[in-house]
Symmetry: C3
Subunit: 343 residues, 3 copies
C-alpha cells in the first residue's frame, strides 16, 4: 500500500488540512486503534473524548478540534471517510476465475463478458446474466432469472426462478430472493398453497444483507427500489413495494403488499403489517410495530407506532404506571371522604 | 397457455357467473394490473374501489359488485382464487434430471422412484427418501434422515442427521432443520454443550419458509404438526411441539418445550417463551410476547399478551400516558387545596 | 450401547444414589418418554408432577423426591445431565473422509492433521485451518481466514475473507460470519457503500447458531468473546464487541459498536442499539429494547429496558390503562363539582 499525502486526501474529498499536509497516510483505522501513518474520523459525538488520546496521524472532523493529530476538515466527515476508505483500501477484490468447470451452468444460460462463476455455483436454464458479475460458490441462480451488470452474489445465496435483478446489485451470503410468498387459502381447516406466480424485482444499486428473505409476489412483483440498502435478516412479504433509496436495518419485517415510499429509514426489528402505505422520507424507530398508513416525512416510534416524540414521552412515563394506579385509588378515596364531608 | 372459459372456471370452483361465461381466461392477475383475458379477485375490502377501474375481464367476488368486468361469484373468493391459479398456472415445475452425477449420494442412501437430485446436492449415509422428491442444488440431507414422498427441498436447505420428514413437505432455500438445540449447562461460569440427541419431526404437508431454523430436541422430538405452514425466518426451539394446521408467519420465535395446539395463528415477530402451553385455535397478534399459558380459542395481543380487545384499548390509551400523569399531579394538588380549605 | 450402572453414573457426576445402584442405564430420555434402562432428570419445577408417573429407571434430581424410579441426587441436575448425556451418547460423530476430492481447496490453503473437508466445501486462498476440523458440504471458507483446532463448520455456513476463528468453535448451518457491515454514507439522497475493511474474530469455544449473521467491522474487529454461545438467527452489527461467556438466545439483534461485558444473558428477540455499553453479568429479558448503557449486574426488561421488577409491575398494570384514564376524567369532574360547591 503506497499511501497518499494528507493534502491529496483533502483534495480528494474537497476538505481542508490543518497541520502537515505532506504526511503520508497509508490506512484508515478507528480513533482508539489508529497509529502513525493512519487516518481516523469523528462523526459520532460520543467518541469526541478519544480525540485527545488518539495516536492517529490525522483525523477527519467536521470542525476544528483539540487533538495532537493533524485535521482533515470535511463538511460531512462520514462521507469523506467513505471516499478515503475507497481510495486507500478499495472494495473487496474478487478472484478472476472466469466460469469454473466445477460450476453448473445450463446450456441455455447466457453471460456478458468478464463474469466469474465460482466452483459449485449453479446457473439454471435461460438465466441471463450481464457483464462483470461474480457468482460465488454455492450460489443458486434459478431458471429464467435476469441480472444486470456488475452484480455480486455471495456464497450460497439463492435466487428463485424468474426474478429480475438490476445492475450493481449486491446479494450477501445465504440471502434468499424469490422464495414462495406466504400465501395459503384456508378451507375447512386445511391450508391450501396458492402458487406464487409473481416474482421479485431488485432494482439497480440495491444491496441485500445476509440471510434476508424476499418473497416473490402471488401475482405481479415484490419490488425493492433503486439504491435501497437492506440489512441482514430482513424479511419482506409477497407483493411488498419498497421505494428507492430506503434503508432497512437488520431484522426488519415488512408484511405482504405493504408499500414504502422513497428514502424511508426503518431501524432494527421494526415490523410493518400488510397492505398499508408508508409515505416518503418516513423514519421508523427500532422495534416499532406499524399497523396503519404513515404520512410523508413522519418520524414514528413504538407499538403501535405514533409520532416519535410522543412515544419518547410515553417511554419516560411508563415506569410510573403502577404508582399512577395507586395514586388514582388514593385520590378516589380522599375525594369520596371530602364528598361525604360536604353532604 | 390455452385458457379456460369463465363458465368452466366457475364450475371448477362451484361458483356462479354474472356476465359472459364464454369469455376465455388465460391468466390470473391483480386488480390493478390485470388486462383482457385475465381474471382477478377481491377478498380484502381495502381494494374494493379498484373494482371500478380494473381492466380485468373477470373478477372473483363474494357477492355482486359494481364493475365493468364479468363476475365469478364464489363463497370464498380466496379459496376460489387458489383453485384457479392452480388450474391455469399450476405449481412450480421442477426439471427432470434424475440423480445428477454431480450430486453426492452415499452408497447407503435409498430413494423411491422419480426423484430429482440436482448438482451439488448431498444425500448422506443411510438416508431414506421416498418417491417423487426434488432435492435442489446445495441442499444437504444428513445421515439417517427419513423423508416421505413428494417432498421438495430447495437450494442450500440443510437437514441434520436423523430428522424425519413426512410426505408432501416443502422446505425452502437456506432453511435449517435439526441443528443443535440451544442447550448448555452452566457450571462455574462456563457453558457446557449438552449433546442434543433428539431430532426434528416434520409431519405431512408441512411447509417451512426460507432461512427458518428448527432446533432438534435435547431428548425426544421437536415436532411440527401435519399441515402447519411456517413462514420465512421462523425460529423454533428444541423440544417445541407445534400442533397441526397452524400458521406461523415470518419472524416468529417459539422457545424450547413450548407447545401449541391445532389451528393456531401467530402473526409476525411474535415471541413465545419456553415450557408454556398454548391451546387450540389460538390467535396471537403481531409482535406479541407470550409468557404464560393461553387457553383454547383465545385471541391475544401485546407484550405481555392478553386478550386482544383489551390490548387494543391499551394501545389507544397509551399515548395519553404523559398527560394522565400530569392530570394526576394536578388532581392531587387541587384535592389538597380543597382538603385544606375544609379543615 | 453398553450402558453404565447407576452407581458409575453417580460417581461420574459426583452425586449420590438412592435405590439400586447396580441397575444398568443405557440411555437418557425425558420424564414422560423414558422407560426401563433409561435415566431422566428434573431441573424445571414445572415438571415435578411427572415424577409420579415416569417409567424411567432413574431420575437425576437435586434433592429426594417421591417417585418409583431410583434417584441420582446431584447438586446441579442439569450439569449432571450434561455429563451423563456426553458419557452415554457422546457428541455428534463426523464421518472420516479426509479432504474430499469433490471439495474445492485452494493450493495456497493449509490444514492441520485429521481435518475432514466434505464434498462441495470450499477452502479459499491462503486460508489457515488447524487440526481436527470438519468443514461440512457447501461450507465456504473465504480467503485468508484463520481457524484454530477442533472446529466444526456445518453445511452451507459461510465465512467471509480474513475472519479469525479460535479453537473448538462450532458454526451451525447457513450461518454467515463476516459479511459486510451495514455501513453507508448518505450524500445528496444516495447511499454510498463504505468498504468494510475490518473483520470478525470468534474466540475459542464460541458456538454460533444456524442462520446467524455476524457483520465484519468497518475498521477493526467485531468480536465474540471466548465461550460465548450464540443461538439461531442472531444478528450482530459491525464493530460490536461481545464479551466472554455470554448467552445470546435466538433472534437477538445487537447493533453496531455496542459492547457487552462477560456473562451477559440476552433472552429471545432482544434488541440492543448501537454504540452503547452493557456491563458484566447483565440479564436482559425477552423482547426488551435496550437503548442506553446498562450497569454491571443489572437485570432489565421491557422497551425501553429498565429494572426488570419495575417492568413486571408495569406489565401487571398496563391492562388497566383505559380504566385509569376513565377514572381520571371522573375524578376531574367530581373534583370540579366539589370546587364549585365550595365557592
Amino acid at each position: 500500500m503506497q499511501g497518499k499525502s494528507l493534502k491529496e486526501l483533502a483534495e480528494h474529498v474537497g476538505g481542508e488540512v490543518r497541520g502537515d499536509g505532506q504526511m503520508v497516510i497509508k490506512a484508515v483505522s478507528t480513533l482508539d486503534k489508529a497509529g502513525a501513518g493512519e487516518i481516523t474520523f469523528l462523526s459520532n459525538k460520543k467518541y469526541e473524548s478519544l480525540l485527545k488520546t488518539t495516536k492517529a496521524s490525522a483525523v477527519i472532523v467536521a470542525k476544528p478540534a483539540e487533538t495532537d493529530a493533524a485535521l482533515l476538515i470535511a463538511e460531512d466527515p462520514y462521507y469523506a471517510l467513505m471516499q478515503i476508505v475507497v481510495l486507500l483500501h478499495g472494495h473487496r477484490k474478487h478472484k478472476k476465475v472466469g466460469v469454473s468447470e466445477r460450476s453448473s451452468v445450463a446450456k441455455t444460460a447466457k453471460f456478458g463478458a468478464n463474469c466469474n462463476v465460482y466452483d459449485f455455483a449453479v446457473i439454471s436454464e435461460n438465466a441471463r446474466i450481464g457483464k462483470n458479475c461474480c457468482i460465488y460458490p454455492g450460489a443458486f441462480i434459478g431458471p429464467d432469472v435476469k441480472m444486470g451488470d456488475d452484480c455480486i452474489v455471495y456464497a450460497n445465496a439463492v435466487i428463485y426462478n424468474g426474478c429480475e435483478i438490476g445492475s450493481r446489485v449486491i446479494i450477501h451470503a445465504n440471502a434468499v430472493i424469490g422464495e414462495d410468498g406466504y400465501g395459503f387459502a384456508t378451507h375447512k381447516g386445511k391450508h391450501y398453497k396458492i402458487p406464487q406466480i409473481g416474482r421479485v424485482v431488485l432494482e439497480d444499486d440495491v444491496e441485500i444483507g445476509a440471510c434476508c428473505t424476499i418473497e416473490r409476489a402471488t401475482l405481479g412483483n415484490t419490488i425493492i427500489g433503486k439504491g435501497t440498502k437492506v440489512g441482514d435478516m430482513v424479511a419482506i412479504g409477497h407483493g411488498a413495494n419498497i421505494g428507492p433509496h430506503c434503508l432497512l436495518v437488520p431484522q426488519v419485517g415488512i408484511s405482504g403488499s405493504a408499500t414504502l415510499g422513497h428514502h424511508c429509514v426503518l431501524a432494527g426489528q421494526v415490523g410493518v403489517v400488510g397492505h398499508i402505505k408508508i409515505g416518503n422520507m418516513v423514519t421508523i424507530g427500532a422495534q416499532s410495530g406499524v399497523g396503519h398508513d404513515i404520512p410523508d416525512g413522519a418520524t414514528v416510534l413504538g407499538t403501535p407506532a405514533i409520532e416519535a416524540n410522543k412515544t419518547k414521552r410515553v417511554y419516560a412515563s411508563i415506569q410510573h404506571l403502577p404508582e399512577m394506579r395507586k395514586s388514582i385509588r388514593e385520590l378516589e378515596k380522599r375525594l369520596a371522604d371530602l364528598e361525604k364531608a360536604g353532604e
